[in-house]
């Protein structure tokens, strides 16, 4: 932790691939000691944003604020480990890449193997680990050198709830130690745990703020009823239906409910589709 309350992130960031706009006008602030979630589906721009924060993509516009690359930890989507190396070898390879002295590397490796429950698997090839264990190894490799900024691209995709809880505990522990943590995810129930949320849609910020701010800013009324209501945009929730009434009141047969983040994003996507159509 070189700085007490450093703020990392980006301002008005734009990224183009060839002529295609991948990101436009995206701003994200991640203070040291906090967790930010970047949410979006396939093609929303999550990976591009995280790669730009990690310095792997050159911005076409705007500014990226990131620490020196030796003070950065990055876990890409996908395997993120060397399948043909053992758990131990993966850790020592990563540690040497960050220039950790041998004694420090040994201490951190032992501590992280214990934390991640990987100690009994230390001689196993990484390619033979379960999805959850592989992600824990990738995360352990990224935090070996106690980075100031930790960037994780969908660390919990395909990971079961028990391993997912452990992964979130590990990244919260990095934040408790002073790191700024940015997590890409497609799951809004995960995003609800973060201090701030940035929802991307087609390369632009759709919603941003604390989870409470995002919910409070939802315009109009979100309602729920037993049947699909007529004349308003609706979506199923179990055997019941939720709907958005932009100007109120609640359509007949429905009553207002407190929206959750899933509802808030659906409403924002519906509004944007209306604006595009207009």
């Amino acid at each position: 932790m070189s700085q007490g309350r450093a703020v990392w992130g980006c301002q008005d960031l734009g990224v183009r691939y060839g002529g295609v706009v991948a990101l436009e006008d995206v701003t994200l602030e991640v203070p040291a000691g906090s967790v930010a979630a970047v949410v979006g589906g396939d093609g929303a721009g999550k990976t591009t944003l995280l790669r730009a924060l990690a310095g792997a993509v050159r911005p076409a516009a705007g500014v990226v604020l990131r620490p020196d690359e030796r003070r950065l930890g990055y876990v890409s989507a996908g395997p993120g480990v060397w399948a043909d190396l053992t758990v131990d070898e993966n850790l020592s390879f990563a540690g040497r890449a960050y220039g950790l002295p041998a004694g420090e590397l040994d201490r951190r490796t032992a501590a992280l193997l214990e934390r991640t429950d990987l100690a009994s698997a230390r001689d196993r090839l990484a390619g033979r680990l379960s999805g959850g264990m592989r992600q824990k190894l990738a995360l352990a490799m990224a935090v070996l050198h106690r980075p100031d900024l930790l960037i994780l691209d969908e660390p919990t995709t395909g990971v079961d709830p028990v391993s997912r809880a452990e992964l979130w505990r590990l990244l919260a522990s990095a934040a408790a130690g002073g790191a700024a943590v940015v997590v890409g995810t497609t799951y809004l129930d995960e995003a609800e745990r973060a201090a701030t949320v940035l929802v991307l849609d087609r390369g632009r910020a759709l919603l941003a703020g604390t989870p409470d701010e995002v919910l409070t800013a939802t315009p109009g009324l979100v309602v729920e009823g037993p049947a699909k209501p007529e004349g308003v945009a609706s979506w199923p929730r179990g055997a019941r239906w939720r709907a958005w009434s932009p100007d109120g009141p609640a359509p007949p047969g429905t009553s207002p409910v407190a929206p959750d983040l899933e509802d808030a994003v659906i409403v924002a996507q519906l509004r944007q589709a209306l604006r595009r159509a207009a």
Binding site: D42, S130, T157, S163, A165, A175, A239, V265, Q269
Partner: protein, 288 residues
Amino acid sequence: MSAGGPPLASAQGATKRFGELLAVDQVDLTVTPGEVVGLIGANGAGKTTLIRMLLGLLLPTAGRIRLFGEPPSRRTRARLGYVPQSLGLYEDLTVAENLAFSAAAFGSAGADLEGELAEQRDALVRDLPLGLRRRAAFAIALSHHPDLLVLDEPTSGVDPLQRARLWETIRATATDGAGVLVTTHHLSEAEQCDRLVVLANGRVAAAGTLAEVVGDTTAAEVRTPSWEAAFTALDAAGLPVSLVGRALRVPGADPDAVRRLLADAGVPAQVTTVAASFEETFVVLAAA
């Protein structure tokens, strides 16, 4: 919603042993017409083995599996639609070719493609965004009007609006009288199901509606001016602590024990007991 009637699929005391490993241990499960049942479990909990037995790909070591009232066979396979997590599409064929291929295999008339999927009918599957690939896989699985639809994490990786549209299709299929079995471990999908069956270590750890599964499981919620110190103390004690915004939660923990730990560490905190979330309940069930 017209759930009821004789079960489309049922497992009674279904057990599968691989050598020493008891993968599925006396599991009961039914899916009746009109209902969406969620099969929830961690990796290695026995979900995939149970699904393979229901599909007729594995024989149970003990217990009984019935599909449409008879043992799984090629005949029952024709009444079943299945979308694996990998989607099972031919990536080098177009959407229309995939549909035609499946219709030929099932001897069905095929189906009309709608909306954006119709516009992309001649696109290669591998060139489509994930949301459309998922919709194509659904359209194909539904094209022979199956009585039972089996879906593996059906909305993984897509955005909330696309997820809502996929669930609209799933719900409409159930309302038309089919039964749906969804395997998932995501809350957003579990919430969409009428009933859940939670597997842990090959056994049914809980079953019922989402509210029934969560039941009276609680979490200790910690509010403190210094969450970092509180987190470090609880984490070091080996508790399954999680950070939610700037508060901490410890599922299944005794609030007095949490208070004592924090007092010993000199961290000022307010500890209250709150209802556990679905995910927290799952972690508690899996650890039991």
